[in-house]
Subunit: 310 residues, 2 copies
Amino acid sequence: MSVIYDRVALIGLGLIAGSMAHAMRRAGVAGDIVGTARSAETRATAQEIGLCDRIVATAAEAVADADLVVLAVPVGAMAAVAEEIGPHLKPGATVTDVGSVKKAVVEAVGPHIPAGVHFIPGHPLAGTEHSGPRAGFAELFDNRWCLLVPVEGTETGALERLRGFWEALGAQVEQMDPEHHDLVLAVTSHTPHLIAYTMVGVADDLRRVTDSEVIKFSAAGFRDFTRIAASDPTMWRDVFLTNKDATLEILGRFTEELFALQRAIRTGDGDQLFDYFTRTRAIRRGIIDAGQDTDAPDFGRGLSRAQKAG
Amino acid sequence: MSVIYDRVALIGLGLIAGSMAHAMRRAGVAGDIVGTARSAETRATAQEIGLCDRIVATAAEAVADADLVVLAVPVGAMAAVAEEIGPHLKPGATVTDVGSVKKAVVEAVGPHIPAGVHFIPGHPLAGTEHSGPRAGFAELFDNRWCLLVPVEGTETGALERLRGFWEALGAQVEQMDPEHHDLVLAVTSHTPHLIAYTMVGVADDLRRVTDSEVIKFSAAGFRDFTRIAASDPTMWRDVFLTNKDATLEILGRFTEELFALQRAIRTGDGDQLFDYFTRTRAIRRGIIDAGQDTDAPDFGRGLSRAQKAG
């Protein structure tokens, strides 16, 4: 494949940016990758493992002469980073991000982008429960969706170039407006995460069931929740603070339905429970058919990353 | 390994019984395996794939001369099966079960077991989201817990024999009383399942987010919920109807904590969210250390069963 951006700057070097670095090299789409992170320790680790071609100390340095700038920091840190890099962006460059919410990012970053620079927010729907510069791997985006959320007046050429870039990294690209993005993600990701965090917290609080029992007997159900609830706390705090409205709306619907099922349990209404569980089973089938998971039974003991990727 | 029970009768031929048949053969602990199921179709399938040495039409026939009888039917069907087999049990035989709740099983089955027959309820904590006679595989119980819940006056010899049997099938065995079992499982399995079912149902109901969007963009969080929510509807209906008290108690605590987090989101209390998410992350580490999952990142595309088992 040929180079799409001569120089790419990664601001933030966590799981997503790290995986992008690996995937860019695999695809050969970046001439030169410059990385930076706020923490000196993160920068040192990235340097040590050769994650980028060059690691620099500040975001302002990183974006100098960059053709693509990727904001890969928690959503709450986006405004400050945008303010810092704004005056240093190269005319004609593209700025994108990988944040899990989009309305708040458009509002935080947009005002700092000078005329002549393309700002095209994005969100690759991929991740693991691990974080940090060592967590990345080239296959993370393969066959995953990357949602691009262009603001009004985005130039078609710049948009198509970014789309081609994500496709080269393995992703399938779709466009969406910011409000709809935030609602869809509240349903498919944000609310499920909050619920998983809550359930794990409840288990930890319960005096009559010991921690060791919770851990030992986590075989079915709970184990998947703990995996979800192990994701990066800073990232998730920012997601809930910045996608407040949609998350609260979905949470309201969730508790409403939960109370209906709770009532069915209390009154012994087996038919209602059976019908509900039958309906949800069909949805699973749709996800497998859509290629976002496999039909292989998950009994909790996966293989190493190398084996999975092989 | 040498034979532990000369004849084992499996009543019900779903995922668990099927996996037991495979695991018994792998270990060589059963002289002869007889199976039965209520549905003629299930019996025909089991016959076709050679799941047992012999398939018979009724539970009464299956238990004739059996040294171990395994009740592997939904909890709601246990009483009727116990009543049917009671008069046909061989003196000195052991009857066990694999139900997900234990107090209700003790009450439903106990009264039908004649004197001279050992009744030792059990619960292997293992499963996948698949069901039926074709879903079983020999490795399902490897390194998983099997909880034995002996009733008062259980003979030590019979108990140790059953423990050795489960260990030969790959499981680690622990003893627990029925009430405590039901509370532990309400936390680690039953409530998480209800929550997953609810979240999947909410997603399905939402008009403004289409089904195809929910399915396409299920990459993070939601995908694990759909896997959990794809489990057998009959089994789960019976679990909630028969472990009502403990499930309702844990659900009450869950909604209490969820409301506290919801309030933190509404008021923008980032510190509370961050602290909560940091605490839950530590619990995940404990589960990995306990060997009930691996640290390999799960990014949703597993391997086939054969590869997993290999």
